[in-house]
């Protein structure tokens, strides 16, 4: 039991959770047929970066985050959330 607890603690500490979550995919899919490439072109990042943002593997810069919010005509905090 002691060994199991140590393993779980170690595993959880290795899974660094990103504090910022986003709803980019929801907004993009909600806007009809906007692809990741199209969104990327509008905010000057690659399709792969958009994919990384949607998967929570990358936090965009403030500038890019604002651009994304402007594309969807919404506020920054509607799309990006600080999740503790």
């Amino acid at each position: 039991m002691l060994l199991e607890f140590s393993y779980t603690e170690q595993r959880d500490s290795m899974k660094k959770k990103f504090p910022i979550t986003n709803k980019v995919r929801e907004y993009r899919e909600g806007k009809g047929v906007m692809t990741q490439s199209e969104l990327g072109a509008l905010v000057f990042v690659t399709r792969q970066t958009v994919a990384a943002i949607e998967q929570g593997r990358y936090s965009p810069s403030l500038e890019t985050a604002f651009r994304i919010a402007r594309v969807f005509d919404t506020g920054l905090e509607d799309i990006f959330c600080w999740d503790e």
């Binding site: 792969q48 990384a52 990358y58």
Partner: protein, 140 residues
Amino acid sequence: MSFQEKSAYVMFVVLLLGGSLYFYEVLSQSMGLEGLISPIIPGLIKLTFMLVIMSIIGHIIIAAISPKEAAAKLDERERQIFNRAGSISGLILGFVVILSLGSYLISEDGSLLFYAVFAGLIISQLAEYATRIFLYRTAR
């Protein structure tokens, strides 16, 4: 996979192949000798030529597959990946150079110093491309 990631794969393979062939030749030619053969300019020219040709061919192929991406500038995530990979590469190169200098103080073998630093350069570049690939796959 982005163009830059494909480019990193191309360069990794080219450098690994080129570097391996070069040092294989050096070690083969050094067999039976007391130390390593002296570095010779024609061998280096041959390696450089081979690396340039292979990387050009590789990049032509990947650019033909995705021409729009090939022409695009680095975006913010890619710049971060490049910076982080470059930083790691620099550390490795620095470490190898110091190690090589230290080994020269002991061995006083100039050829060994040359090959050690040269190998360090290749290893650091391999590390840079490997780090880029890793960060492209997993980067946060």
